[in-house]
Assembly symmetry: C2
């Protein structure tokens, strides 16, 4: 007699695989899974819309899983890194050092030494960093490739997280740039580029368009003091993804179309300068899920709690405790019964002994049973790496690129 | 000629050691340091105030550094653990298994199996956990020691973080306890104790006193259904420590004095029940510092930023991003020039590329130079273990018990 395989009712498909099968493949819950085809599709679509000649960089901090970094190495034109370890990851992935930009307000002596020795672009963010870079260049007998990260003198509204404009520890104020350029010229170092970072997680095309236009204008102003041509201009990123009800995706086509307004001018005035767009969350954020298992279901004073083996120690942002002022729910589904008709109003919580550990508050979900899989979507960026794993000493989450 | 040692002007003393010497001993910055004599003094003082017979437990989640756990093993009467790994730490420290309580709303099958095999007290928090515990007891051929964590039917005001009263995933609602007791009796398992957790980080003696009084009342009500005497009653902890200007230390003497109001009644009605106080933050929080080094000092649009090699990846709570609604500064000093007369208004930030990474906002501090040591006080609890170390892939902080 031939064995009979009983088909289960279909569960949530992720990267073409049933989420229960993914859990078995991971060998445990909780886990993060990232969809390589979704990342690839996102990049292809964006490349199709971007004017030719605009380079696309990946900000490793969004998701530093080595497999993701290696996958992206073949698909983007460069990496942006925020620490020496991220730089090492980028180099291990085989990308050309000169296409790596190292930014960060607090680069240590060791960070800078490693960056110069590796031949990456150092985005200096202060006079101190510039002095250290030039001194280390002499010490190592290597000419450092230096860009200046500029704290812009404009602020655009609506950006999820502003990092430019106003008083900030990031970059060099516009009015301090000329002094840095003089310092560079006395050291016989040519400036490779400018890096303008104006904000992140922005869903409003008009804001991104305005920020890019103003960034290019700013670069023109700053370049007036230059005696040598720029090799690149990094216009930041800022492309957001929708997390919460009512949010709509960024109109990337509108953003890309508007690049034609400033691109000819940039090409004319800085013909050797490659414009760079640096994106992290936008490339990988929607391509990831966090999956944990229901281990209890209880009612306390009329409220239903679905208790999982996951929590904020793996996914701090989804718990609403990572910079959010107002806690809102990430999209959550019951992965093995996505189409269940019986639903209930409940809160999904993690396994930690703290009221902060909530994955979804007061949501309508299919009635969850013990053993069911809770899937938190939009978890490809700032999830695993941005969470306090050691809090309460529970096991680490698994991670896979599917 | 004999060598001459030039004495440096004194720096901040921590555990009797200059903080610069501690940095050299750690071999790097940033680091956490914990003062064993301060922990010891805190426990001795508390023991001196507590009525005799009240047991003192340490909640490992506050600071799971193995050296701290080992140090405390010889000084407290038991440990409270919130995961199997914390339980393993407690057992490794050589404390008697029956003095370990394992609480947590999301204990997995594996957690419970390990707990029963280890002979610790399982504080069951749901019907599901109770069923699993009894089934595993049969499977392992061991009678589990079971306590019930009760979600109290009272709420006390002013507690920093309420975890009892109202609808919560923690513990079993009071009205569901009788059903659990019936379930236990059919399994021929005696209830070892009750665990009432009403809140944490409370600085108001009257609130703690009221919570303990109500907890004892609740235990009396719950015990009416019992046929066998209790072995312990865990009255929770909740003792807070001051973090912010204007906060005053908890009047522990008043709290301990008030215990005499309910202790005789408890002894009369449950003569075999040891009252347990479980404290984490209160025992270790004030005995710890986080030390990072100034690596840059810059002015942006009139505001001064002191940039360090530390940040929220090591100390999320100090950055104001761990459950705080309103960001307030932890106490911060410049460790190597505590008595400097020249001061400046500044913000102390970490090395991460995010505006969330602030260690002190708009404070008056001695003018900091590159190489100076920034010391964040009150960092002995929920610091290193409750922070997202991997965020941006910077090095981990060192840690030492001095």
């Amino acid at each position: 007699m031939r064995p009979t395989f009983i088909r289960r009712p279909p569960g949530l498909q992720f990267a073409g695989v049933d989420v229960r099968q993914l859990a078995d493949r991971a060998g445990r819950t909780p886990f993060f899974a990232y969809d390589r085809s979704a990342i690839d599709a996102r990049i292809r679509k964006l490349r199709g819309l971007l004017p030719s000649g605009i380079h696309l960089h990946y900000s490793i901090k969004a998701n530093p899983m080595p497999a993701v970094v290696h996958f992206l190495a073949a698909r983007v034109d460069g990496f942006d890194v925020a620490s020496a370890q991220e730089m090492a990851l980028a180099l291990d992935a085989g990308i050309t050092p000169t296409t790596i930009g190292f930014a960060g307000p607090g680069k240590s002596h060791d960070d800078l030494r490693r960056a110069i020795a590796s031949g990456v672009n150092v985005h200096v963010e202060s006079e101190t960093q510039l002095r250290l870079v030039t001194a280390l260049g002499w010490e190592l007998g290597m000419r450092p490739s230096v860009a200046i990260r500029v704290n812009p003198d404009f602020q655009v509204g609506q950006s999820g997280m502003r990092m430019g404009g106003g008083a900030t520890p990031f970059g060099v104020d516009v009015d301090q740039v000329p002094a840095l350029l003089r310092e560079l010229s006395t050291r016989e170092i040519a400036l490779a580029g400018f890096h303008i970072f104006w904000g992140s997680q922005c869903l409003h095309a008009a804001t991104v368009i305005e920020a890019q236009r103003q960034s290019v204008d700013l670069i023109f102003r700053l370049a007036e003091d230059l005696t040598q041509p720029l090799q690149f201009v990094n216009l930041g990123g800022g492309f957001g993804i929708p997390y919460f009800p009512g949010e709509t995706p960024l109109d990337v086509k509108a953003v890309c179309d508007a690049m034609h307004d400033w691109l000819p001018g940039l090409r004319e005035r800085q013909p050797g300068a490659t414009p760079i767009l640096e994106l992290g969350r936008y490339l990988v954020g929607e391509a990831g899920i966090y999956v944990c298992r229901v281990i209890d279901h209880k009612v306390s004073r009329g409220k239903t709690f679905v208790i999982t083996d996951g929590g904020l120690h793996h996914h701090l942002a989804a718990s609403g405790n990572f910079g959010q002022i107002l806690r809102r729910n990430y999209p959550v589904v019951i992965g093995n019964r996505p189409d269940s008709v019986t639903s209930e109003r409940c809160s999904v919580v993690g396994c930690l002994c703290t009221p902060l550990d909530r994955l979804a508050d007061d949501v309508e979900l299919p009635v969850a049973h013990i053993g069911d899989l809770v899937v938190v979507k939009q978890s490809g960026a700032y999830g695993r790496s941005a969470s306090p794993h050691q809090f309460l000493s529970h096991p680490e989450p698994a991670e896979m690129l599917v």
